[in-house]
């Protein structure tokens, strides 16, 4: 019965999958971002985290998920899943690519689509020791501006008080691959990895708020860092 549930059917990932993902993201995409696109990496916290982590980032481009995968440590790269929308990536080659190359987990954006609560699905993955990459804005939105975070991150973090939430700010990737374009034109950008946030018994709204403020603060600091006075 549970076999019909795609998230539970997932086999324990093998060493082969880990090697493929390390080559794909830590070597290939890292070189594309570093040398071709010229993405600047800024790490505010050098400590590497073992165990499940919730990465939270703003979302403007299809490149965002790839960029985030390049900062996940090698040891956990095959255990890290981007959360993507079923209605957008639901069929054909897109779906295959998302599942096997991006390691994505597809959820429905609305709660009642097939009777399954997407939060439950992600909750189960965290219990199974997987890390998640969330884009709580829920959509790529307007280029260069950040929408309000949905409360999914709050729900997940409040159910798992020990799991750190790492806020990540992505700046300028939308210029390389804007919404509605298929050609990547290198235009630089910045990726800021913030200090992990650990929550104990804050409410869902509090967690969502704190995370959103953390990402917004990073955006603000970045804007002022290289400004001429």
């Amino acid at each position: 019965m549970t076999d019909l549930n795609p998230s539970k059917k997932r086999k324990r990932p093998s060493l082969g999958k880990q090697i493929v993902f390390v080559l794909l993201y830590k070597v290939f995409w890292r070189m594309v971002f570093g040398l071709v696109i010229g993405l600047k990496y800024i790490r505010q916290d050098k400590a590497s985290l073992d165990g499940p982590v919730i990465y939270v980032a703003n979302h403007n481009s299809h490149l965002d998920a790839m960029a985030l995968m390049t900062v996940v440590p090698c040891a956990r790269i095959h255990l890290t899943h981007s959360v993507a929308a079923q209605d957008f990536f639901g069929s054909g080659f897109k779906r295959w690519g998302m599942l096997h190359l991006v390691n994505a987990v597809l959820i429905s954006r609305s709660r009642k689509e097939n009777g399954e609560d997407p939060i439950e699905q992600l909750d189960a993955m965290l219990v199974a020791g997987r890390s998640l990459i969330l884009f709580p804005e829920g959509t790529r939105g307007v280029p260069g501006s950040m929408g309000d975070f949905k409360r999914g991150v709050g729900h997940l973090a409040s159910r798992h008080p020990g799991i750190p939430v790492v806020p990540i700010y992505l700046d300028g990737l939308y210029r390389n691959l804007p919404k509605g374009r298929s050609m990547i034109v290198p235009f630089g950008g910045t990726l800021v990895v913030g200090k992990p946030l650990v929550f104990s018994n804050e409410s869902v709204d509090e967690i969502t708020n704190v995370t959103q403020v953390a990402v917004e603060t990073m955006a603000h600091e970045l804007k002022n860092a290289n400004r001429l006075t």
Partner: protein, 318 residues
């Protein structure tokens, strides 16, 4: 196997200059380390970071210069590309100009391929003649005239400044045979890299120690007359001292050194002005202590073409 050894076999002149560069690096690393131990200060830390970056840059430059010409061409092409893609986001280009920007990136490999295959005439005309017309035309075909003048000026300028200029370093490999000159294109390349690098260091050093009167107070407050004059004089002397890497006589080398130093300063000043206009301190953070690619390469890209033409002029005149 013999061929492999030949490829690595450097001539004596090149070995000497590499030895000198390594000595300077070892000396300055030790000096700043001791300075930092005796009197820890912000300046000492900055000098240490800068020297560490110089180490990496020198090792990359030397290796890519002496190993094989293909590596040299690829390395230089990458630097040109890195300059373009570092500056385009800062220059606030319209998103609808993406296709033209892609065309500008595509110019880089073509230009370096022309240098590699020795098509000197087309190489010299490709950007300032052909691309100078093609890029504005492609911009016009968009049918949008608002902001057109800005893009028409900016994109060809970026190509001439950062691709055409830099690519003359690759053209040094096409220098005709000069009797009695053994250091080869690698020697000339290292000579220019050494001069421009030392020019920056010397202007920084003279400016920090003696500098009082700013040259361009509103563009770059750190550049002083003392730094400029001290830097130009030191570079001219160095150019004479290292002329065994070139086919030049003493006065020719002094003149070349003077021109390289002045051109390096000009490139630096222009880059400062551009950065100030777009409102950033540094063009990036790729090189710790120095900033981005443009912050380090502004002098090279301005001095490369004058250097090539001076060498060509002097060696064909004699």
């Amino acid at each position: 196997m013999n061929k492999l050894i030949d490829a690595w076999g450097m001539n004596a002149e090149v070995q000497w200059v590499i030895l000198i560069i390594l000595c300077i690096l070892v000396f300055s690393s030790t000096a700043w380390y001791i300075l930092g131990k005796i009197k820890p200060s912000k300046l000492a830390t900055e000098l240490q970071v800068r020297t560490r970056s110089w180490w990496i840059m020198c090792v990359c430059f030397i290796l890519s210069t002496v190993v094989h010409p293909v590596i040299t061409h690829l390395g230089l092409a990458f630097l040109s590309y890195a300059l373009l893609r570092e500056m385009y986001p800062l220059l606030k280009l319209d998103q609808r100009e993406r296709n033209v920007v892609l065309l500008c990136y595509a110019v880089v490999p073509v230009q370096y391929a022309l240098a590699y295959y020795g098509k000197t005439e087309i190489f010299l005309a490709f950007i300032p003649v052909f691309m100078f017309v093609i890029i504005p035309f492609v911009l016009v075909t968009r049918g949008e005239t608002q902001g057109l003048v800005r893009s028409i000026s900016l994109l060809p300028y970026s190509l001439v400044a950062w691709v055409y200029g830099m690519s003359h370093l690759a053209l040094l490999f096409q220098m005709p045979e000069i009797p009695g000159f053994t250091a080869g294109p690698e020697g000339l390349l290292l000579y220019l890299i050494f001069l421009v690098g030392m020019n920056d260091v010397m202007q920084f050093a003279w400016g920090k120690t003696l500098g009082k009167h700013p040259v361009l107070p509103r563009v770059s407050p750190n550049k002083t007359w003392e730094g400029l004059i001290g830097g130009v004089l030191s570079t001219t002397l160095l150019a004479v001292g290292l002329r065994f890497l070139t086919p030049l006589g003493m006065w020719e080398a002094a003149f070349t050194g003077f021109c390289v130093a002045v051109a390096g300063f000009m490139g630096d000043a222009i880059a400062s002005g551009i950065k100030r206009d777009v409102g950033v301190k540094n063009s990036g953070n790729a090189i710790p202590g120095h900033g981005g690619y443009l912050d380090r390469l502004d002098g090279f890209s301005a001095a490369a073409a004058p250097f090539f033409h001076l060498i060509y002029f002097f060696s064909s005149a004699s």
